[in-house]
Amino acid sequence: MRALPVGDRALLVELPSGAEAEALHAELLRRRAAGDLIVGEIVPAARTVLLDGLADPSRWAARLASWDIPPAAPRTEAAVEIPVRYDGPDLPDVAAHWGVPVDEVARIHAAAEFRVAFCGFAPGFGYLTGLPARYDVPRRATPRTGVPAGSVALAGPYTGVYPRSSPGGWQLIGTTDAVLWDHTRVPAALLAPGAQVRFVPLGAEAEFVPLRAESEIPLGAEKTTGPEAPSAPAGTT
């Protein structure tokens, strides 16, 4: 852990991995809730946590170094389910990067268990981790000038859902009707840092129920269309 001063009132805590950043973030939230930490903003990111609005950053830098931080515990609340149609224009490109047939992308993606590592870019935009590292994809060489709201997209190790239409360079694999951000709702953001998330393919129930009912379907066929993907272990970052 390395605590870098940022101006006079903030501290950027850098960690060796995303998992350790998540653990520190959880610990900071616990300490703030307990009244031990008074701070304006706690902003987790890829491998850092920013503490902004601290009265005495250098004192906190020394304190943090002495903490024994437990790994982030699995959340007790249910995962947020995001219904998705895997119909994005970049499915073929993503399939090519992954080295799998196009229709495998949806199966692999929907089988993973995601966690909101951090938010940014736009209100309600979460950077979700959960796909194994071999499924990292580059951003598109040329960003799109308009990505529709509800687009489910991949870049690097992250999955994200565009809360509103905006320019964007991520690979689009699907669309959802879920409302990621609604300032009249409490809470406004569907996804907050630390939340667990699952993508549920739309029409999956309709597809899978008849399959289970028809015992004549060869076992192999059921395996390739089934919701569990052995190649995507749950919760891996």
Binding site: G7, D8, E41, P44, R47, V49, F118, P123, Y127, A188
Partner: protein, 289 residues
């Protein structure tokens, strides 16, 4: 709508509703927003008897024109500019009364960029996450004013201040920004850090509420590659790949992936909000407090 309202006759280049902003939501990707020149916004509020959290109008360079539906008390501050009511001169930097349906015109700034218009009772648009501020990065809060927009006003809070004219700092002829180094100064060559702290920059016309962009000597990185996204603070001096420093202002993104070479002291940012394009900028290294 009640007669406690303001009709916008001329919206100006960019006029937005601003208050103290919406801090506390950076972890959800929500910028702090709020007036770019907080002391100027606070002063005009005080002049009309509003509390500090009342929403004011922030104009950009060429002011705006407004027609209140009932008589209101108004104060104009920030960038110095001519003010008229139905064509007759009205004070700048002091409270005055605008009769119902009179035309209040806030003219082109004589110096500086952002003007502030407070009306007794404050602009009473619906708050979003506790703030009425327009956030131009993420689109939260009311849209920028357009000709014909009608803004609701709150009930006056109390008597206006008894002053002839309130002193306000002049917009800067040269912008001196005190900075503390880091957190990513080690991403730049020693020569680049020296250049940043000694050479002159200029305010770029591409500046906005998100950032004060500068033009000047390009800052060379000491290392290639990408910095993973990390949290950003107000006043962070981010250096994108083109090598020209950008000072983050109120509508800045909450996370970013370009290295921050230094952070500007918050008390120097109101002057940054008033620096017209072309103003010389110097970044002066100071000790951390």
């Amino acid at each position: 709508m009640s007669d406690r309202a303001l009709a916008v006759v001329r919206a100006g280049a960019l006029t937005t509703v601003q208050d103290l902003g919406r801090p506390g939501y950076a972890h959800l990707g929500v910028p702090r927003s709020g007036a770019l020149d907080p002391p100027a916004a606070a002063l005009v509020n005080r002049l009309v008897g509003n509390p500090p959290e009342a929403a004011v109008l922030e104009t950009t360079l060429n002011g705006c024109a407004l027609r209140p539906r009932s008589a209101v008390t108004v104060a104009v501050g920030g960038a110095p500019c001519p003010v008229t009511v139905d064509g007759r001169p009205a004070p700048w930097g002091a409270p005055f009364r605008v009769p119902a349906c009179a035309l209040l015109d806030i003219g082109h700034a004589r110096a500086g960029v952002r003007g502030y218009v407070a009306v007794a009772g404050g602009v009473a648009v619906e708050p979003v996450l506790g703030s009425r501020s327009t956030d131009l990065l993420s689109g939260l809060g009311p849209a920028p004013l357009a000709d014909g927009t009608v803004l609701p006003l709150g009930q006056p809070f109390g008597p206006h201040a008894r002053v002839d004219v309130a002193a306000q700092p002049a917009p800067p002829a040269e912008l001196v920004l005190r900075v503390t180094p880091g957190p990513r100064d080690d991403w730049f060559t020693a020569a680049a850090v020296r250049t940043f702290l000694t050479r002159a920059y200029r305010v770029s016309s591409a500046s906005n509420r998100i950032g004060l962009r500068t033009e000047g000597p390009v800052l060379e990185r000491a290392r290639p590659g990408e910095l993973p996204s990390e949290g950003m603070v107000l006043g962070a001096v981010q250096v994108p790949p083109d090598g020209s420093p950008v000072v983050f202002l109120a509508d800045h993104p909450t996370t970013g992936g370009y290295p921050v070479i230094a952070v500007v002291r918050p008390e120097d940012l109101p002057a940054a909000a008033q620096a017209v394009p072309g103003t010389p900028v110097r970044f002066v290294g100071v000790r951390r407090r």
